[in-house]
Symmetry: C2
Subunit: 169 residues, 2 copies
């Protein structure tokens, strides 16, 4: 049993951990990419957005008096997944990387959608406003990745088929 | 280095493993849910759709002469993630379960989007048609879950706040 405020605080802690993980995943991906400059540039833009999102979530946590130190089980598993994805060296890693980025954006979209509803239920209009500010940035990044996935796939397949080119990064 | 056909076959094997995992995740979720009948009904509908999707992918694999036995690393990690999510017993598991379901649908959306492009590049119009048949079902399920996440969150928070009610399943 928990009050809406307690659940909200729990989920904000999850969001904090999630944005830390987003930062390390995005940085790792950007650093590795060489032959796909459009993807790299969009990831770099989202790293900047992520810093702003971290600030917004931290402000909500401070305001509600919650520390951001306790990382819950679910987020821990998401993080392990993210690390597995970010650190992998598969032959088609640019494709799997873009897919994993898209999937991670959707983790964030689901989280902030639930957080907006939870903040509303808890009567916390400041947290509601913060999450509503973040949500469109995550949606835009997810949409960009999915829209560009076909052309990225084609580019990868052409490079992969050419013995003189490196395809994976 | 690999031809478009080899990459396509690899990704179809991933899709096969993914749909097996989808089936076990969805069944586990449906079995646990008690107090959220609308969510349970939508999941049950998608289990039926998943059977049809498995058949389509298996037909593509047979046609291309590929076995479905080798599960690749990335999919193995996704499966571990799915099992962690599906088997978890968190206090807010209906919410995390719906979020995880939404995230998994987006894994599938990204996979079939890349597969459509790969089938096109490989000149395999039958695989292209099969993946284009599956994709809208995954999109519809993802959209349903995200649209219903706010009301599910509200229902959970009300139940969670009431000492006489069970909220999590």
């Amino acid at each position: 049993m928990a009050t809406p405020q307690e659940n909200l605080l729990d989920w904000l802690r999850d969001a904090h951990a999630m944005e830390q993980q987003a930062e390390s995943m995005l940085k790792a991906q950007s650093k590795r990419l060489e032959h796909y400059p459009k993807l790299k540039a969009r990831i770099d833009q989202h790293i900047q957005e992520t810093f702003g999102q971290q600030k917004l979530i931290d402000e909500c946590l401070s305001r509600l008096g919650g520390s951001s130190s306790s990382i819950k089980d679910m987020t821990g598993k998401l993080m392990a997944f993210g690390q597995a994805v970010g650190g992998s060296l598969m032959s088609d890693e640019v494709i799997k990387g873009a897919m994993a980025g898209y999937v991670f954006e959707n983790v964030e979209i689901a989280s902030y959608t639930a957080l907006v509803a939870a903040a509303k239920a808890a009567g916390d209009s400041e947290t509601e406003a913060a999450c509503e500010k973040i949500l469109p940035q995550e949606i835009a990044m997810a949409e960009w990745l999915l829209e560009h996935l076909p052309e990225l796939t084609e580019a990868f397949l052409v490079r992969s088929d050419d013995p003189n080119l490196e395809a994976k990064k």
